[in-house]
């Protein structure tokens, strides 16, 4: 990782302790996607996963097609506006040609007619961006996960969660319901308006460097948690940060939720003294129920020993 990439890493912490909260803030640069230096590698991985595990990585309910077209248009607009050197859309009425210069791909289709695309609209546009994309539809005073393309999940299953309401999705998070956080965040999202997007950063630790930390493969990558030692933690353990952006879609009144996942080895994190001190304090203080849910418990001590040794070196 280059110094510039370290500078760009979405370090998530403020203060010396962490608790679940609605930490969303207004998104000033109202772009749903980000194109990083890992674009080609991550798109390659995404497409491989989609091809090999379509059920796991893509789900949609039949009533979402109009919303999917809205997302295709919305994301295409961001790609061509913020990255005109990399993406282009030629339009002649409803006849569109989407051009991805990074991949040297062109796709012509009739907007609104999914039979002219090789995949459903959300699945198509998702294959051109590094983000995972979740589409939540609003009805009966609630939000429902009705479609999504998810290749880099942090240990959850799109195939299981599809169709669930907001609270049902978050039911496994300890304390979320008891503290009424689910209710507050739901209300907050329901009040979002088109043109005023929000964003937040979510974090966890990852033993290994897999972007694809799906629950479907937990029996494989979960084994890596047993391999963490204070000697290898610097290179082996990664801070995993999801940049999550929320957009109200004006036409269908749904919510587009994009997730861009970033990984930073602890060795790199420790190279910034401010981050090293802060993260050590946060990890040492982290309540057990949060550590348990984030899957850190079994190797938290090894990581703390590693971080504390780096701190001693710095003193």
């Amino acid at each position: 990782m280059q110094v510039d990439e370290l500078r760009r890493f979405p370090y998530p912490f403020k203060g010396d302790m962490y608790r679940y909260s609605n930490n969303s803030t207004p998104l000033e640069h109202a772009c749903s996607i980000e194109v990083t230096s890992g674009y080609l590698r991550e798109i390659g991985l995404k497409r491989k996963l989609l091809s090999k595990y379509p059920e796991r990585c893509y789900q949609s309910r039949s009533h979402t097609l109009q919303g999917q077209w809205e997302i295709l248009e919305f994301v295409s607009e961001h790609l061509t506006t913020y990255h005109p050197d990399k993406f282009m859309v030629r339009k002649n009425g409803n006849e569109w040609t989407f051009i991805n210069k990074l991949l040297r791909e062109e796709q012509s289709f009739t907007f609104g007619d999914e039979t002219t695309l090789p995949f459903e609209p959300l699945d198509f546009i998702g294959r051109h961006v590094q983000e995972d994309m979740i589409f939540m539809m609003q009805r009966d005073g609630d939000l429902f996960l009705d479609a999504g393309q998810l290749c880099f999940p942090a240990n959850w299953s799109l195939a299981f969660n599809v169709g669930m309401s907001f609270k049902e999705i978050h039911q496994p998070i300890p304390g979320f319901n008891e503290e009424k956080l689910d209710e507050r965040i739901l209300k907050f999202i329901m009040q979002m308006e088109a043109g005023d997007p929000w964003w937040r950063k979510n974090w966890s630790l990852m033993a290994g460097n897999r972007l694809d930390a799906s629950i479907e493969t937990f029996d494989e990558w979960g084994q890596d948690r047993k391999k963490v030692t204070k000697e290898n933690a610097g290179e082996f353990v990664h801070l995993r940060v999801e940049v999550q952006k929320l957009f109200r879609l004006p036409l269908t009144n749904g919510i587009l939720f994009t997730i861009h996942t970033h990984l930073l080895p602890l060795k790199k994190l420790a190279s910034k003294r401010e981050w090293l001190e802060q993260f050590t304090n946060i990890l040492a203080e982290l309540p057990s129920h949060i550590a348990e849910y984030k899957g850190i418990v079994s190797y938290r001590n090894s990581v703390l020993q590693y971080l504390e040794e780096r701190l001693k070196e710095r003193r």
């Binding site: 299981f160 169709g163 479907e216 937990f218 084994q223």
Partner: protein
């Protein structure tokens, strides 16, 4: 909604009872409350082996003819309850307009986190502790720890990796 016990919900336009002989016993206190209050009601038998059984097509027609403000109570064996619940929901009964009380042996579907296969687990009604054991996915043989995370779309609970 699925409940353990039927409760009388006052101030409804009409009360609808859909049940079998054993379910009738479960609903009796609600029926008594309705009768005592001199409120209108209809009672339909279903799912038994006797001649008084009402075919599902007739049930569908009966439910379809009901007006807004009517309240539905259904008490049947768990395996029959699910199909009637789906039928009522398709017809337009919301969770706030109905109570579903199952009895007998309950079957629980477990969704395998690895292969997405469904394994059916039989849960005895008499089981005081509703805790489900660890089970083996019948499709991929993974040992699963059954969670309380439920998907109504899959009609299943999520099974996590039990041992790493």
């Amino acid at each position: 909604m699925n409940t353990e016990k039927a409760t009388f919900i006052p101030d409804k336009r009409k009360y609808l009872f859909l049940t079998d002989q054993k379910g009738l016993v479960i609903l009796q206190h609600v029926i008594d409350a309705v009768v005592e209050s001199n409120l209108p009601f209809e009672l339909v038998f279903i799912g038994g082996s006797s001649e008084d059984e009402t075919p599902q097509t007739d049930v569908s027609m009966w439910l379809s003819q009901q007006k807004m403000g009517n309240f539905l109570y259904v008490s049947l064996q768990w395996d029959k309850l699910d199909s009637i619940k789906r039928l009522a929901e398709d017809i337009g009964f919301s969770n706030e307009e109905a109570q579903y009380i199952g009895y007998g042996e309950k079957k629980t579907n477990v969704f395998c986190c690895r292969c997405h296969g469904i394994t059916v687990v039989r849960e005895k009604e008499t089981s005081e502790e509703k805790e489900l054991p660890e089970i083996r996915c019948k499709h991929c043989d993974l040992l699963l720890s059954v969670s309380d995370h439920y998907s109504s779309l899959r009609d299943a609970y999520l099974g996590y990796v039990a041992k790493l």
